[in-house]
Amino acid sequence: MTAPPDTVSWRSISPRYFWLRLTVLAAWTLVFAVAAAVAALLVSAWFLLITFAVLVLGSLRAVFMRRSVRAWGYAERAEDLLVRHGLLVRRLSIVPYARMQFVDVTAGPLERAAGLATVTLHTAAAASDASVPGLEAAEATRLRDRLATLGEIREEGL
């Protein structure tokens, strides 16, 4: 990537997020694979193909998981927050602090268990896509407080 992506220093998200995503993926893959396997036993052997497909897709996803987690990055500039993510479809969002309506910090049960949280910055535009998952709890709090402070200073409304 070039231009802004190269000229700012990106912060990456916690590597634990990779394991979290991997756990979730493994769980879902297993659920579907087992379901298909049971169906193969009960209904028709053709369902084994589905089991196989699920396992292959799951492993493929797992192979790319680390890269996709590494693709997440965020950068706090003086006036705006940059968030990038995505491997296949690459996305970069530039959201000015002045446009911030509110900040969400969410942590699902798994995220909590891993000590991680997701920070989402909401603007008046529904399409603004500034969500950073897999932040260490302390980092999430820091980011939230900083965003809140900056948002207050630069509050310019709509």
Binding site: A3, W10, R77, R90, R91, I94, R146, E155, G157
Partner: protein, 535 residues
């Protein structure tokens, strides 16, 4: 002082309830009860409905206190809703058919962030509604609101053209085709039942209602401008008066539908943040020009855009269609074989405009002051061709999308848009914040003025701000120049960066993130009190 709605309100609302009741029980009821009993039941319902509405009317009231509108509702669980008038996006006077018969009107307030139209005040007298609206707008904008007579008509639709234009829509053209098809089927196939024909016709009526409703809604469409706002009047049966303060306009879209191309017509919509309605309602809310010859449409669009950019109605017009557009590189035709020569983007200090579409051509313009965020996306095919798409998000439903730019250009463009929208915002809020500031609008100090090779055919910069101040930084390593160059400012029109707003602190790259950046000496400590007393 607390005021009541018009005394005829309970009757009208009761009538509405009764209409529902009639529809609900008529068919079976009439045959089961016999006409006499049926009339008695209807009478009872009418009395109950009017009584209920009367009680509702008695306990409902509104009041303007300071810069707030308070609406009181409810008998058992009382509710007082307080609407801060600064947050009101638009105030409409709507006159449904029934209310028109009695000379009444409904006042609707559109509020930022509300999921539905807030506090519809129904019903008031027409004059009362107009007065109250003027008063509320005056309080909301801080400028005494002009009377309705002072409006200068900026555009008025030609009703015959509106009719013809709506006949030139796919929906309207589908109807004769459908009718032919249905008759053909009926003659060919004797088993084609009445129900089959009826349902087909219903389906076609459903399709045809779109142009019909457009005609009914946009009949007599007129835009007037006065000192504070755009005033829109429209409607054949339901009359609707809208008042849109120009600073609420988030963006503008001019559309040239395929079928309108030979007569040379276009239509235009504005996007007003805070319009809660969905679908049709929203569509109606944003019409700027229902149909007009291209030149006229563009003139109106330019007027409104100028007003939107400068947040005053008296601002000079701004013709987005005249901006030189930079096209995507030739290789984009692999992804957009037909559109690639059409699409393009133009950026000025105040505006971003995007051209789109092959069959239905479009021009989308967004004032940079209204930009909420900027995004770059790059799909796998785009990556293979080294292209990327830049999205400009606004608070409304309108998005300017610059498709298939060369990747480096796309990122440079995104950065340019981010920094220019920042400057534009600052220019818009600054005069209110600091009185020391000269009143000239701050020329966009664009650190991200990219090296000439970065952004192709130099994004049309107005000549005023051409020489970039100081050394051009690489595309926004640190968005504004790390420290303003000591000594006289570089550009001729350059205003020296002010201590209070320009980040004069140490360059706060992301590396230095944890320290709150650019805590400026002039600033009050952060906290709720630190919000600029702008609004």
């Amino acid at each position: 002082m607390r005021q009541r709605l018009h005394p005829l309100t309970p009757l009208l609302k009761g009538a509405k309830l009764v209409a529902f009741a009639v529809v609900a029980i008529s068919w079976r009821g009439l045959s089961d009860l016999g006409p006499l009993h049926w009339l008695a039941v209807m009478g009872a319902i009418l009395v109950v409905a009017v009584l209920v509405s009367a009680v509702v009317w008695l306990v409902t009231g509104y009041e303007v206190v300071g810069r707030e509108l308070r609406v009181y509702e409810g008998l058992i669980s009382r509710r007082t809703r307080t609407i801060p008038l600064e947050r009101v996006q638009a105030i409409d006077v709507v006159r449904p058919l029934l209310a028109r018969v009695f000379g009444l009107a409904e006042l609707r307030l559109e509020v930022i962030g509300a999921s539905k139209t807030e506090a519809p005040l129904a019903y008031l007298t027409v004059a009362g509604a107009a007065t109250l609206r003027s008063r509320l707008i005056g309080l909301s904008t801080g400028v005494p609101h002009a009377a309705a007579d002072d409006t200068a008509v900026a555009f008025s639709v030609d009703n015959r053209r509106l009719l013809r234009a709506q006949l030139l829509t796919p929906q309207a053209l589908a109807v004769p085709v459908g009718l032919v098809f249905v008759t053909w089927q009926a003659t060919l196939d004797p088993t084609w039942t009445l129900i089959g024909a009826a349902s087909t016709i219903t389906a076609f009526l459903g399709v045809f209602q779109v142009p019909v409703r457009r005609v009914l809604d946009e009949w007599g469409f007129t835009i007037g401008t006065d000192i504070t706002a755009l005033r829109v009047r429209q409607g054949l049966l339901n009359k609707r008066n809208q008042t849109v303060p120009p600073r609420r306009v988030q963006g503008l879209r001019v559309t040239w539908p395929l079928l309108w191309r030979s007569p040379g017509w276009a239509r235009a919509r504005i996007d007003v943040a805070g319009y809660a309605g969905h679908g049709e309602e929203q569509l109606r809310a944003g019409t700027l020009v229902p149909v007009a010859p291209t030149a006229e449409t563009l003139t109106v669009a330019a007027t409104v855009l100028g007003a939107a950019v400068h947040a005053t109605v008296t601002a000079p017009p701004l013709d987005a269609a005249a901006l030189p557009v930079t096209a995507p590189p030739r290789r984009a035709r692999w992804l957009a074989p037909l559109a690639w020569s059409r699409i393009g983007v133009a950026v000025t200090d105040t505006l971003v405009a995007v051209r789109e579409g092959v069959l239905t051509r479009e021009l989308v313009a967004v004032p940079l002051v209204r930009v909420q965020s900027v995004r770059v996306t790059q799909g796998p095919l785009q990556r293979a061709l080294d292209l990327a798409t830049v999205h400009v998000d606004t608070a409304g439903g309108l998005h300017a999308v610059a498709r298939h730019r060369a990747t480096t250009d796309a990122y440079a463009l995104a950065d340019l848009l981010a920094s220019r929208s920042r400057s534009a915002r600052r220019a818009a809020t600054h005069p209110k914040v600091s009185l020391a500031k000269p009143s000239t609008p701050r020329p966009a100090t664009i650190p991200a003025t990219t090296p000439a090779d970065q952004l192709p055919p130099p994004a049309p910069l107005p000549p005023a701000s051409s020489p970039p101040a100081g050394p051009t930084t690489a595309p926004a390593a640190v968005p504004p120049p790390a420290r303003p160059p000591a000594g006289p400012p570089a550009g001729p029109g350059e205003v020296p960066p002010l201590p209070d707003r320009s980040p004069a602190g140490p360059p706060t790259g992301p590396a230095a993130a944890p320290t709150p950046p650019d805590r400026r000496p002039a600033d009050p400590p952060p906290g709720p009190a630190a919000a600029p007393p702008a609004a």
